[in-house]
């Protein structure tokens, strides 16, 4: 299937790989279908492109790459999504990245609103974590 994307023009995607977010994302009601796009030159960043709105895309990253001790209780996400216990192995966690400052060095990642994707079911949920020691603006590059 051809998909218009925010940053890469029109790309071919495998419709089977569409990820459903039944509860959407805070701030973007009604946006429920996404795909992950990967570009060689921007790894390890991945694009979380909305299928319902070509103009909407997020950049995501594996949080362990810059916060190796990041740990998360996935139970609330599993409950929200009615995912069963054995599926825990299919869950992948990404942090949503904020580059609104336009400077690479000021890029931050949101560690209290992680995206949890069930790769077996192609479903996802954005967790909202309260009372955690993590920041919603965790710098990716440690200032030295």
């Amino acid at each position: 299937m051809k998909l218009e994307t925010r940053d890469f023009g029109s790309v071919d995607i495998d419709e089977q790989k569409t990820i459903m977010m039944p509860s959407g994302m805070p701030g973007f009601p009604g946006m429920q279908r996404f795909v992950i796009l990967e570009r060689e030159e921007s790894r390890p960043f991945l694009w979380y492109q909305c299928v319902d709105d070509p103009g909407l895309a997020f950049v995501i990253i594996n949080p362990l790459l810059f916060k190796p001790d990041y740990s998360l209780d996935l139970t609330p996400a599993m409950k929200d999504m009615s995912w069963e216990e054995p599926e825990e192995g299919n869950l992948v966690v990404y942090a949503i990245v904020n580059a609104s400052e336009g400077v690479p060095e000021k890029i931050t990642a949101n560690l209290i609103g992680p995206l949890v994707i069930n790769t077996g079911k192609n479903e996802a949920v954005q967790m909202v974590i309260s009372g955690s020691p993590y920041s919603h603006k965790q710098p990716i590059f440690q200032s030295t």
């Binding site: 390890p44 895309a57 997020f58 950049v59 580059a99 890029i107 309260s130």
Partner: protein
């Protein structure tokens, strides 16, 4: 906004299946118990707002910054090894 006075152990119901009960009051803090179906997300508003704002900002990023940042990350990785 509808304003209701409730005592400890009294509740309000919202729609057919959401019940909010006042569990206790200590000084400026109120403890609430919430019964809601699984598909109703119950969140502390300030955290939800933070994430909403962060999502709105994150949706604005431009690809160029990330290609540069990817370069920086890869350089950092190499320097660690």
């Amino acid at each position: 906004m509808l304003v209701l006075a409730r005592k400890v152990n009294e509740s309000i119901t919202i729609g057919d299946d959401v019940v909010i009960k006042v569990i206790g009051v200590e000084g400026m803090q109120v403890r609430l118990g919430i019964d809601a179906p699984r598909n109703v997300r119950v969140l502390r508003q300030e955290v939800y707002e933070k994430i909403r704002e962060e999502n709105l900002l994150s949706a604005r990023g431009e690809a160029g910054a990330f290609i540069k940042a990817a370069g920086l990350l890869n350089t950092e990785d190499r320097s660690k090894k």
